[in-house]
């Protein structure tokens, strides 16, 4: 299986001196392409930080990140932007919709600049929001907003999908629906899905589970058998 991401001795330090926070302390990890990878860890263990660096949103303090043969740490801002534009989709820990745009328009924001996007309506249909395309975020519930965010991330048919606690704020039924979508995207489009979560149960549907603690990889576990999203219990 080809490798999507490789990191070498990745560190990230916020601040300096006595108040410095070492969010990552030497992370070496490989993410194979085409897998669903779940990242687990206590709050503050560095999950979001690692995700942001892999996704080209942030730069490490030291170490290297490769996406296939492309060294992300060598790219200038413009090239890094191009990388994000062409290859990756994001679903953030907080909903992050544009409040002044409708659901459809929020999705269009991404399809506009993507190379091979789905129709915005189609993406919204995948997350079951076909009826709400013209609603503004303030008219949607938290779960619905999160699903719009997912529709937006998958609409560009990305090679890699980063999801930071996509189900964090959702009830179990909605959560399962979201997981179904992620599963679909992985199975049908062959997208690599990297998901941060606190719910250990979700790990069951992943190909691979990475556990972080204190800014370091504690353990990488490959699931021999995977459960279907519908079987995930909260």
């Amino acid at each position: 299986m080809p490798v999507a991401f490789t990191t070498r001795d990745l560190t990230k330090t916020y601040g300096e001196g006595r108040s410095a926070v070492h969010a990552l302390r030497g992370v070496d990890v490989e993410i194979p392409a085409g897998e669903i990878v779940v990242m687990l860890g206590a709050s503050g263990s560095g999950k979001s930080t690692l995700l942001n660096i892999l996704g080209g949103l942030d730069r490490p303090s030291s170490g290297t990140v490769h996406f296939r043969d492309l060294c992300l740490t060598d790219l200038n801002d413009a090239r890094l932007t191009r990388f994000r534009r062409q290859h990756v989709g994001f679903v953030f820990q907080f909903y992050n919709l544009m409040p002044s745009l409708t659901a459809r328009e929020n999705v269009e924001l991404v399809t506009e600049i993507a190379e091979n996007p789905m129709a915005p309506e189609e993406a919204l249909e995948v997350v079951g929001l076909k009826q709400r395309v013209d609603h503004f975020p303030s008219q949607l519930s938290g779960g619905e907003q999160q699903r719009v965010a997912i529709a937006r991330a998958i609409a560009k048919q990305p090679e890699v999908l980063f999801c930071d606690e996509p189900t964090g704020a959702l009830d179990s039924a909605t959560g399962r629906a979201v997981l179904e979508v992620l599963h679909e995207v992985n199975a049908r489009l062959g997208a690599t899905v990297l998901m941060v979560t606190h719910a250990a149960n979700i790990a069951g549907m992943a190909h691979r589970v990475i556990r972080l603690a204190d800014g370091q990889i504690r353990e990488v576990e490959v699931n021999a058998t995977r459960i279907a999203p519908a079987e995930v219990v909260w």
């Binding site: 949103l57 942030d58 191009r82 544009m98 409040p99 002044s100 924001l109 506009e112």
Partner: protein
């Protein structure tokens, strides 16, 4: 439409109040620019075309009586391209129903063909028939103001003889763009008449057969005017030449030039001020938006939008406001320019005047607004570019209040929590608070300065007509008479007091600075017309020496103790060296005062007066004026009340009327600034406010936190703005002042109080608008939305 553009429009819609306020500020800036530069272009182009088409003379040489043969000599002067003689003379109009005689002049038309210079522009009718003795052209503005038309007859006294003349045409001429009776500072189209007659007829009246009393010249392109003037004077001296002068010294040309110059100065100075304010407002508003949208910016960047694309999005917002405001300004500029045209056709005798906006002014207006707006935008965009997506995506850290003021001690404990929040938020962002204060300060300065100027116009009137000149009427004689003439005036029933005076026309010279004007000789302790100092106390005239009005001292760049050269243009035409004794604060014209006896001694014409100021019994005024009208020695009477009315009219409808536009603009801008400040406070504090409400503070208490900051900033800004406005009022007064009248700027407590109340009022209204919005928004909506 791309979703980003849709976001843009909705965002603009959300802050439409602010958008409109800023567009208005930009709009009025551009409006003034388009209007003023358009007027400058229209006036100078019209004047140029008129001068060219009607062959305006370059040099004018008045003379007592020179034989026609002298023209050949004059034409031989090097650099004289062409010369022509004509006959002019004083005329007195007797209008029915008008108790006082009205002054004017008569000008000759060639017996055949067209005049070489200053050709008349025939508004209506035809030229007098060659050889006709009683047919005249009448100055169109005068005819209109007094209700005369073609075919009407008018009584005119010329050279002591009264004639009834028939009006066959109405005309204007390029040397009569602006007319005012000599000695009278206020132009009034109804009070100075001009007639044109065939040369033959006029020569007979003034005894000028085979002679001329004014020569007109055109000069070759490279001529040095001063040299030519000297040579002309040398030729005409034996014939009673009173000094040739160039076009620049012609009263008509000088006032038009001054008007155009004043407009040009203002069009360069005022609009940039407004654009700077607009740039500042845009900066504050857009930077606030960008600050509030850091997550959106991060999100867009995370999706792969480049910094340039995101920057362009916010820049478009700036552009829309700038271009919208500028377009509005261009439209308003054309409208107001058109509206100003009648002002100029009423006070200046332009045969045609069309407002043609200067195309460059559109380009300048639009690009200056874009540049100003961009200047504000650039600082903001720098932040957009600098923002890292990962940083933006993190929920914003709570603002750091740890390093602001702490409230300890008795005073600290007296403050309640909401007050502390207000003070802390000011202390935490002192620059932002200072910027808002600077904005409100600017508004206060503009408003107080403009109100001061309004008051100054009235003060100018009051001072001129009740302190400087307290006479009811001034009588001018046809020529200097003996002092007995004053006694004769005093004997007219109803005349209470008479104060003789003598006006002598002269060229005043200090080195290279010259002014063609007059010296007023006054009695030792005048009661009616006086020179006053800055404190309005009368200045006693010294036995020797001259007292100059401020405007004249400025023109000549001369001060007390220096010596002024006075080249008298009457009688023996002596050249006097007179020490400048004092500078008086004058508001009307550019007077020079001397003691009557000293002036007469210098002229070697003892006991001569050229007129007198009168105090009359108001009930018998008409009777008195009628008596004066019948006295052959009286050339004219100017009535203070009429002069006052004409001046008021000139200031309200003439150039001074720009003060109304500028005043309105100042108040619009002030409101725009204050309103924006309130909206900004709302956007920044809206969330805090909702949280306070959730915690159980009442609406009033929460509103206090929100608007308290605005109140503190406003209260700090008002006194500072007042000081700035004081300084600004001097600059604006200087802009409005001309040789015709000067606007005195002083500290005017009423104006500052008025402006302060306006700023406070604007703050209260804006605060209420904001509060109404807040009361209407659901708590939950505020807490749910991230901004």
């Amino acid at each position: 439409m791309s979703p980003l553009d849709r976001k843009l429009l909705r965002d603009l819609g959300r802050i439409k109040g602010q958008v409109i306020a800023i567009m208005l500020v930009i709009g009025v800036g551009v409006m003034l620019q388009v209007m003023m530069s358009g007027l400058v272009a229209s006036l100078s182009e019209t004047q140029r075309a008129y001068y060219e088409r009607n062959r305006m003379a370059d040099v004018f040489a008045p003379v007592t009586r020179a034989p026609q043969s002298q023209l050949a000599r004059l034409s031989q002067i090097p650099d004289v391209a062409r010369v022509e003689g004509r006959v002019t003379g004083g005329a007195l109009f007797d209008l029915p129903g008008e108790p006082i005689p009205i002054r004017g002049k008569a000008v000759s038309l060639p017996d055949q063909g067209e005049a070489a210079f200053n050709a008349v522009y025939l508004v209506e009718g035809a030229l007098p028939a060659p050889g006709a003795r009683d047919e005249i052209l009448l100055l169109a503005g005068f005819a209109e103001a007094n209700g005369y038309g073609l075919g009407d007859r008018i009584d005119v006294t010329m050279n002591g003889t009264r004639r009834t003349l028939r009006i066959v045409g109405l005309a204007e001429a390029p040397d009569l763009l602006f007319v005012a009776a000599p000695g009278e500072m206020v132009p009034d189209p109804a009070r100075f008449g001009v007639i044109w007659m065939r040369r033959n007829a006029l020569s007979a009246i003034y005894d000028m057969d085979g002679a001329f009393n004014e020569a007109l010249f055109s000069l070759s392109r490279l001529a040095v005017e001063a040299e030519v003037l000297d040579r002309i004077d040398a030729v005409l001296d034996p014939w009673g030449g009173t000094g040739a002068y160039g076009r620049d010294d012609l009263v008509s040309d000088r006032f038009v030039q001054e008007e155009i110059g004043g407009l040009a100065t203002m069009s360069r100075a005022v609009p940039p001020l407004f654009l700077a304010i607009a740039a500042f407002l845009l900066y504050i508003v857009v930077s606030r938006i960008v600050q509030g949208e850091r997550e959106e910016i991060g999100l867009l960047k995370a999706f792969g939008y480049t910094g340039a694309e995101v920057g362009a999005h916010y820049f478009k917002m700036v552009l829309i406001v700038a271009v919208g405001g500028a377009a509005l300004g261009c439209a308003l500029g054309i409208l107001s320019g058109r509206a100003m045209i009648p002002v100029y056709t009423q006070f200046y005798n332009f045969p045609f005047l069309v407002f043609r906006p200067d195309p460059a002014s559109f380009v300048i207006g639009v690009s200056a607004s874009i540049a100003a707006a961009s200047a504000g935008g650039v600082f903001v965009l720098r932040r957009v570019f600098a923002l890292e997506p990962a940083e933006a995506m993190r929920p914003p850290a709570p603002a750091d209040y740890s390093r602001t003021i702490t409230f300890t001690g008795r005073f600290g404990r007296m403050l309640d929590q909401p007050t502390r929040m207000v003070l802390r938020s000011i202390a935490r962002q002192p620059l932002r608070a200072a910027a808002l204060a600077a904005g409100i300060m600017g508004g206060m300065a503009l408003a107080s300065a403009m109100t001061t100027i309004y008051g100054a116009f009235d003060r100018m009137m009051a001072l001129s007509f009740s302190v400087i000149d307290r006479s009811d009427a001034t009588v001018y004689f046809t020529r200097p008479l003996g002092e007995k003439a004053a006694l004769e005036l005093a004997r007219i029933p109803g005349v209470i007091a008479v104060e003789p005076m003598r006006n002598v026309s002269a060229v005043l010279r200090n080195g290279l600075k010259t002014h063609r004007g007059a010296v007023s000789g006054m009695i030792a302790n005048p009661e009616m017309t006086r020179a006053i100092d800055a404190d309005h106390a009368p200045i006693p005239l010294p036995a020797e020496g001259i007292v100059l009005g401020q405007a004249l001292a400025d023109i000549l760049e001369i001060g007390p103790g220096e010596t002024l050269t006075v080249e008298v243009r009457e009688g023996r035409q002596p050249v006097l060296e007179v020490p400048v004794a004092r500078v008086a604060s004058s508001l009307l014209g550019a007077p020079a005062y001397m003691r009557l006896d000293a002036l007469n001694r210098a002229m070697r014409e003892p006991g001569r007066i050229s007129g007198a100021h009168l105090q009359v019994d108001g009930n018998r005024a008409d009777e008195i004026y009628r008596t004066l009208k019948d006295m052959p020695s009286v050339a004219g009477v100017s009535v203070a009340e009429t002069a006052r009315e004409s001046l008021q009219k000139l200031m309200d409808q003439g150039a001074g009327s720009a003060r109304y536009i500028m005043g309105a603009v100042a108040f619009i801008i002030t409101f725009g600034i204050v309103y924006n400040a309130a909206r900004i406070a709302q956007a920044e504090r809206g969330r805090d406010l909702a949280s306070l409400r959730v915690m159980g503070f009442s609406k009033g208490e929460a509103g206090f936190v929100l608007l308290g900051e605005l109140a503190v900033i406003t209260l700090v800004a008002i006194p500072l703005g007042s000081a700035l406005g004081y300084a600004l009022s001097f600059a604006i007064a200087a802009g409005f002042s001309s040789e015709l009248y000067q606007i005195p700027a002083t500290f005017d407590p009423f104006s500052h109080g008025f402006a302060a109340s306006f700023v406070l009022g604007a703050a209260v209204v804006s605060g209420l608008l904001v509060k109404r919005d807040i009361d209407r928004t659901e708590l939950i909506t505020v807490l749910k939305s991230r901004e």
